[in-house]
Symmetry: C2
Subunit: 69 residues, 2 copies
DNA sequence: AATAATTTATCGTTTTTCGATAAATATATA
DNA sequence: TATATATTTATCGAAAAACGATAAATTATT
């Protein structure tokens, strides 16, 4: 079975935004955002996901993707 | 602030698959899949999301989208 | 009308985010 | 090289929320 992977790194580079800056805008700690960025979570609350999409001006598909294997 | 919306309905119509059938394939109860389908949840586990993508042969962006307002 | 499919409603258990904090590692800069 | 800054890792605890089980209600379908 495939899995869901987070691709926050890409968008952050594209938007030229640092982890701390994004964490601030999203409203979560940089520690937790780091976890999200590095696929150390097994779910994300929609409220958090929405805040990320808002801050990065992108859609869910730019951040979350299903990866077959 | 915008919000995350689930668009399972679209893909289910497109794939011509019933709720019960999809619930079976995904491995969760039809009750819970109904909630997911009707935006009654505020998060989804990646394991569940992956199973849905697998069953519907689609990607995350087809199911989850950020809706500005 | 009868049957099947979907949705709503509770309740309980389990999972997991997220915060707080401290420490470690990596990166940049003087 | 030394120092500051940024990112990651590690615990611990609390709060949030998925998901299961079950029953009931509502909505299609035949």
């Amino acid at each position: 079975m495939g899995k869901i992977v987070l691709r926050l790194d890409r968008m952050m580079v594209e938007r030229k935004i640092s982890l701390n800056e994004l964490a601030d805008r999203v409203g979560i700690t940089n520690v937790n955002l780091s976890k999200i960025k590095n696929n150390k979570v097994t779910a994300v609350r929609f409220s958090t996901l929405a805040a990320i999409c808002e801050a990065l001006d992108c859609n869910v598909g730019d951040i979350l993707e299903y990866q077959k294997d």
